[in-house]
């Protein structure tokens, strides 16, 4: 008899949980805006960012040359500069002043000034000074241009040095060896071509995803307790925990479902790198979805209205990508910001995503991220529970 009773209770509980889950799906599906935001937002974001970074590396930085020497040597140099992968000579300026104007107007990003007597000084083994000017107002351009310029100047210096030594009667192979006594081999691991698309596209797409998910999570409590139907739910005597778990599990499943097309498009179609085991990747995303949901729930429990809940959520979700240290190192931020960033699940997510994309990490390497998700979820859910118990 007692087993019959408990089986009936389990059946009733299961029926209740499924009914709540079904309603939650209908709620998301019937709210057209919410549906489009959750399902299409991240996909559109990924497509957009893939389009933006489709060239994958920054090439053809507009460059101007001021050739004050006009010698055969300077022409050779210009040819070498033109052959550099990242630079594209677009303009030949007559003077330094003209170059200044071109950079100020944004017509070119870099400029190289070849001084008068460049060819002569080089042939006489005298020191000569090339001016390389970079527009620092655009950091992405500037970093790439600087790197290219450094590479050119290093090659030029070596070439000139070897020529001088040969001119002084040293054998060519000895001259070359003298300049290459310290051979520096530059190897970029994990992303050898320094591909921008590999680095940012998936992260930016998932940033859109996490923002959309936060919006949905922010409705969990405020959306229910501020509605007139809250009266019905309270009078039905359904436990708040059962209601919360059923709603939350459905929302988290919806978050993962919304992310799946993004992962498919990114990895299978755009061939963005994902060097990790699939179960680990899935588990990592699931753990993040739970942590993210807990933050949304906390915002939802504090807010007085659903609109305010969404505002709180956006206040957290929007800057979280920048705070995560994905595009700018966390270590370079002030201590207070570092601490704040570490309290956000997005920080642990984007840091972990980088590892999963490039470094094929094992569970041990990812364990701090999982632990952070667990802690954030526990704190946020517990705090929300206290707030909701007091409020309702």
């Amino acid at each position: 008899m007692p087993s019959k009773m408990s089986s009936k209770m389990v059946k009733t509980m299961l029926r209740q949980c499924l009914a709540i889950a079904r309603r939650e799906i209908l709620l998301i599906w019937r709210d057209k805006d919410l549906r489009y935001i959750l399902l299409l937002g991240p996909l559109v974001g990924l497509l957009l960012f893939y389009g933006i970074y489709s060239r994958q590396v920054l090439v053809e930085i507009p460059t101007a040359i001021v050739d004050l020497d006009r010698s055969q040597t300077s022409q050779e140099l210009i040819k070498n500069i033109g052959a550099a992968e990242n630079l594209r000579i677009t303009t030949f300026a007559e003077s330094y002043k003209e170059l200044e104007d071109l950079i100020a107007k944004g017509t070119v990003v870099t400029g190289i000034v070849i001084p008068e007597n460049y060819g002569r000084d080089l042939s006489l083994a005298r020191q000569t000074r090339l001016a390389m000017i970079i527009d620092g107002s655009n950091m992405i351009y500037a970093t790439n241009a600087t790197s290219t310029m450094l590479s050119i100047s290093r090659t030029l210096g070596a070439q000139a040095g070897i020529k001088t030594l040969i001119g002084r009667g040293i054998a060519p192979n000895q001259a070359q060896a003298a300049y290459q006594s310290v051979a520096c081999s530059e190897e970029a691991w994990f992303n050898p071509t320094l591909n921008y698309a590999y680095f940012v596209v998936l992260a930016l797409g998932l940033n859109m995803w996490q923002q959309c998910c936060t919006l949905v999570a922010c409705m969990t409590i405020a959306g229910e307790t501020c509605a007139a139907s809250w009266c019905q739910l309270k009078s039905l005597g359904i436990s708040r925990l059962k209601l919360f778990i059923s709603k939350s599990a459905t929302q988290i499943a919806a978050f993962i479902a919304a992310a799946l097309p993004v992962f498919f498009l990114a990895v299978m179609v755009f061939k963005l790198p994902l060097h990790c085991s699939l179960p680990l990747f899935f588990l990592f995303n699931l753990a993040f979805a739970v942590a993210l949901h807990s933050v949304g729930v906390l915002a939802s429990s504090i807010a007085r209205t659903p609109v305010n809940a969404a505002r709180f959520g956006m206040l957290i979700a929007l800057p979280s990508f920048l705070l995560s240290g994905y595009t700018y190192p966390l270590e370079s931020m002030p201590g207070l910001l570092q601490t704040a960033a570490q309290a956000l699940p997005q920080t642990w997510y984007f840091q972990g995503l980088n590892l999963l994309s490039f470094k094929n990490p094992d569970y041990a390497l990812m364990s701090p991220n999982f632990l952070a998700f667990l802690l954030i979820s526990a704190v946020c859910y517990a705090t929300s529970a206290i707030i909701v118990a007091k409020k309702t």
């Binding site: 309603r23 209908l26 139907s229 019905q232 009078s235 005597g237």
Partner: protein
């Protein structure tokens, strides 16, 4: 027979304003208590306390032997119809019935029976926020009765709705009472007191009990008095 609902020294305040001032009363099984009062006197507050929707400042409320502050098990034997539309507006009519039935652990067959009794066939696929007031109220009552409750709490059950819906709701309320159900019905129009077995008149935070006839007579006297005062005033103004 032990009372189904027992209220002792119930007090409720909003800010510094006392809404319910030490109310004590009992409701027996099979009774239909009309809770009468003008708008804003605290009927909804009292009904929501009994339904377990709102908390209260002090006192003790016992329903079906359960102290409602400590145990919500009585809710399984209760149905609520609210004054303001409180069905799930994101769901259609049938989905509301289905959802509430699932949450109440009610038999699925009850839905079909209630749909027939409340003549809801034609609106089952309609979103509830598009329903007319009368149809909405029929659906609300059908939802409240899904679990075949012992107690029905109704706030403004048939106020300002079409005659067809009124007649169906009255018929079903009678049938509920005949089958042994207990009802507390809040209203602000005195003519509804005829449908009740006892009237609790809520005024200035206190509750006084009358037979329906006594309540009607009290109301009539009051109106007569007000009318006399108005006539006197008009006379003075004319003079």
């Amino acid at each position: 027979m032990a009372p189904l609902i027992k209220v002792e020294d119930l007090k409720q305040t909003v800010g510094k304003q006392i809404i319910l001032n030490s109310l004590s009363f009992q409701i027996s099984s099979g009774e239909c208590l009309g809770l009468f009062g003008t708008r804003g006197v605290g009927k909804t507050t009292l009904l929501h306390i009994l339904a377990g929707v709102n908390r209260f400042k002090s006192g003790r409320v016992e329903i079906l032997g359960y102290d409602i502050e400590k145990n919500g098990a009585y809710k399984k034997q209760m149905g609520l119809i609210t004054q303001k539309p409180s069905l799930f507006k994101d769901l259609q009519a049938y989905e509301n019935l289905d959802f509430i039935a699932a949450l109440k652990g009610a038999d699925q067959h009850n839905i079909a029976d209630l749909v027939q009794r409340f003549v809801l066939h034609d609106i089952l696929r309609e979103p509830v926020n598009k329903l007319d007031a009368g149809v909405y109220q029929r659906l609300s009552m059908a939802c409240a009765l899904l679990n075949e409750p012992q107690i029905l709490i109704a706030d403004d059950l048939i106020n300002d709705i079409d005659p067809f819906s009124q007649s169906i709701i009255r018929r079903e309320l009678n049938s509920f009472l005949i089958s042994g159900g207990t009802c507390i019905w809040g209203f602000s129009r005195i003519e509804f007191c005829r449908c009740t077995s006892r009237v609790g008149w809520l005024e200035k935070g206190t509750l006084a009990f009358y037979t329906p006839q006594e309540a009607q007579a009290k109301w009539d006297r009051r109106w007569h008095h007000i009318a006399q005062q108005n006539e006197q005033q008009d006379g003075e103004d004319y003079a």
